[in-house]
Structures are given as C-alpha cells and as structure tokens.
Point group: C2
Chain length 245, copies 2
C-alpha cells in the first residue's frame, strides 16, 4: 500500500533538557516529551493541560521524525535521557520513536499509570509504573497493571512510583508494594496545590508538601519499611509550578 | 596474647533511621553511624562536631558489639541500610562491624573524601567517594584517591559525589569525572550556612541553596553534561540544619 500516513504522536509539549524531578532518575538531565490525552482523570492531576480535552487545540499530531527533530534540537544532538510522559503516553504509538532514538544513543524512560499495555514497553530503558491511589478518585485494574509488567518482559529497569496524600493512599502503596515484591518502590508526597493549567505562576504550598514529606518519612520509619525510597518532587521545590523548566 | 582489647571505633553519634539526604541513595531509610575525627578541615564542613577535636569529649570509643547493639536497637532488628560517615570513617576500624551486620542482612554504605584506603572497602555495599573541591581549602591527592578505588576491587557500587559552590568547584568536578569515566557522578550544591556545631537551630539559607541548585542545573545543561545527577541535600530542605533526624 502506498501513501499511508505514518502513525502520528499526539504531543502536548516537548521541553528540556532539565533535571528529572521524580523517582528513580531524580536529578538526571532529561528531555520531556509530554503526550496529550489520558484515560484517567485524577482529582489532583498536575498535568491537566495534557489531559483535559479543553486543551486539545494546543496539542499537535506529530510524526516520529518531527518529534525526533525537536528532541535532537533541544539536546544539541548529544544523547540524553528522554522521558515519555503525559497524560498517559501508553495510548500513543511510541515504539518507532524509541527505536529511532536508540539508534543515536538516546535512552528512554516512560511513566504510566499502568492501565494500557504495549509491546514496545520491552524496548524502554526505564519503565515507571505509577498506579493511582484512592485520593485520585481512580480505581486500579490490577489485571491491566500486570499486563503492563508482562509487556515489559523484564527488560527495562522497572519501578513503582506512588503518590501519597493520606493514610488510605499509604495503605494502598503498602499493598501495591506487597503485590510486587521484586520492584523498587518510590513514594512521593502529594502536592495539593497542583498548577491550574492556565496559570504558570500559581503559588504552590511548599510548606504543605514538606509537611506531608515529613509525615510520610515518619510513617515509613514507624513501619520499618526500609526498602522504600521517599522523594519529594524536586522540580516543584526548585521551580514551583512553573512549566517547561 | 590474652586480654587484648578489641579494636574500638570512635563514634560521634549514631542516629536514625531517617532517610538518606544525599547522593545515590537519597530517600532511602538509613541508620547513620557518624565516626569522630577527620584528616581534613574543609572550610564549609557541615559535621564539625564530628571533626573538631574541641568536641572530642562528646565522642565515644565503642566496641563493634556496642555499635552494633545501638544500630539494631534503632532499627528494631530489621535490616536497614547503615551509612558510615564522619568525619572520615576510613580512619576507623570498621571491617568487623560490616561483617557483623552482613550476617544479619544489613547493608553498608560508606562516604569518604578518598584520602585513606582500606581493604575492607571491598566489603561495602556502596562506596561514595567525595573528593573535596577548591572551595573547601583542601588539596586532593589523586594517588590516595586512586588507592581507595583500588581497595574496593570493583565490588561495592561506587559513586563520585562532589559539592559545588562556584565555577572553580564545577571545573574540578568536571575534571574528576573525566578522570573516572566509569563512575556515576552526583553533584550537590553547597550549603554556605552549615550548622555551627553548638546550635542545632541555626537558620539555614534555603533560598541560597536553591539558587545555587538552579545555577548548577543551568551549568550542567549548558555543558550538555547529560550523564550527571544534580541533587540538593534533601534533609536540609526537609529539616534545615537540625541534627539527628
Ligand atoms: S494518570 Fe496522570 S496524567 Fe492521567 S489524569 Fe492521572 S495524574 Fe493526570
Ligand atoms: S572531609 Fe568531610 S568531615 Fe572532614 S572536614 Fe571535610 S567536610 Fe568535614
């Protein structure tokens, strides 16, 4: 067949390099490809501009080559970690992009809630599964989550990352960790002042985040949960809610 | 020979578990064994109470069993990461303590400037070599540093961690990384308001630390140094200069 249009990737924004602010790769220079669209609607979503269809007209349908040329331009052609995030990046056709980048020495991390499995998860360098706790208002389908793990075929470095706001979230995190004893677990105190999508400069309650961080450390220590990592969102501490840094 | 007293470890403080605030293990629950005494005198040392001999009368000479019983008491007998720090912990006889803890499933990380090599570095789980940049007022003897690396015989996970205050420190970090291309590198913005040893509640210039953090991220990105990690001292952000948390 001729004239077939290549699969397009729905992109909300591409920015960086800046340092990764969350989880296992915290502190690592990273270019972010944030895709548009999500099958979830978490109450505290901090990426609504990449989720809510009200922002759909800001999203672009790009070919692999178009995405790739922005990534290489931003990184000056020097291989860097590329974070595929969203929204839920698993609903986009990203396999080809990963293959394209690997040929030039770039690495790829993907973060998803674990609701949609893809064969190309096995081609990632890092897979961050971030199931959403009760405070999100979402319900985890563990069968879908396990399908994501199976798709990765044990190839990428894989970690669980769970946002914790309260006791119920903490109990959820404990249970999720117990279901997956082989996975390293990262807990992240929730930010109850996520950025409104239209206001980059909305104030953030850093004291509240830090108080939740101290509470979370206390919980983990009291439970003698010594294999977990507790990390705040570093970019929020450094830059507040500002986007694109 | 009978009646030989077992080698004693000079201890400034044992505390925790709390989360590791620096480097590769940031966020991990850890018990800290801070030894007393150091062969360096860094201008910005943040552990003067474990360095300056004026505080020597607060240090205790403890046997392995005495240290071990404090560590197990603090961790409730549950295996946890133990950080051996100082001062310079390499000047203490720690080999037996490591063997003792390993038998019960504990893990050990040691952080040293890399001035004194020990055979038992090879028994660690993690070796953090933190050579001191020009702003410290110290001079790195790279032969001694390389002896530390050789002692470890490639066994523990090993990382470079370098504190950066200014351009000269940054250039030093670049050169140190280039000398050791096989080692992961962690850069840490310096804290120019380290705790005076007698005052737990001395205010800390968080804004200054964060400004240095942003500067450091900008430097790394501008240089396309994409393999490095830039991490602030997390415990300082969470608890300020308070000791023992
Ligand atoms: S899964 Fe992530 S992107 Fe989607 S709504 Fe929830 S927080 Fe937002
Ligand atoms: S090497 Fe470490 S403990 Fe020793 S003086 Fe320098 S900063 Fe302080």
């Amino acid at each position: 067949m001729t004239g077939m249009r290549p699969a397009e990737i729905r992109v909300s924004e591409i920015f960086g390099p800046t340092i990764q602010g969350e989880g296992a790769l915290t502190g690592l220079p990273t270019v972010f490809v944030r895709t548009g669209g999500c099958d979830y609607r978490c109450s505290w979503c901090d990426s609504l501009h990449a989720v809510d269809s009200a922002y759909r007209d800001e999203w672009r349908a790009l070919t692999v080559e178009e995405v790739w040329s922005e990534v290489t331009r931003l990184s000056g052609g020097v291989p860097v970690m590329v974070s595929l995030s969203g929204g839920n990046p698993a609903i986009q056709p990203l396999g080809e992009l990963i293959a394209r980048g690997h040929r030039e020495g770039y690495r790829f991390a993907l973060e998803t809630q674990g609701s949609v499995a893809r064969d190309w998860f096995a081609d990632l360098d890092m897979l961050v599964l971030s199931p959403k706790p009760p405070s999100s208002g979402m319900e985890t389908e563990w069968d879908d989550f396990d399908a994501c793990l199976r798709s990765s075929r044990g190839k990428p470095q894989t970690a669980l990352k769970i946002v914790v706001f309260d006791d119920a979230d903490y109990a959820y995190a404990r249970a999720a960790a117990a279901r997956h004893p082989q996975l390293p677990v990262y807990l992240q105190p929730g930010n109850h002042t996520p950025p409104p999508p239209d206001d980059d400069d909305a104030p953030i309650d850093i004291d509240g985040v830090m108080e939740r961080m101290r509470w979370l450390v206390d919980r983990v220590i009291a439970d003698k949960w010594f294999e977990v990592r507790v990390l705040p969102q570093l970019h929020v501490l450094i830059w507040g809610n500002r986007r694109g840094v």
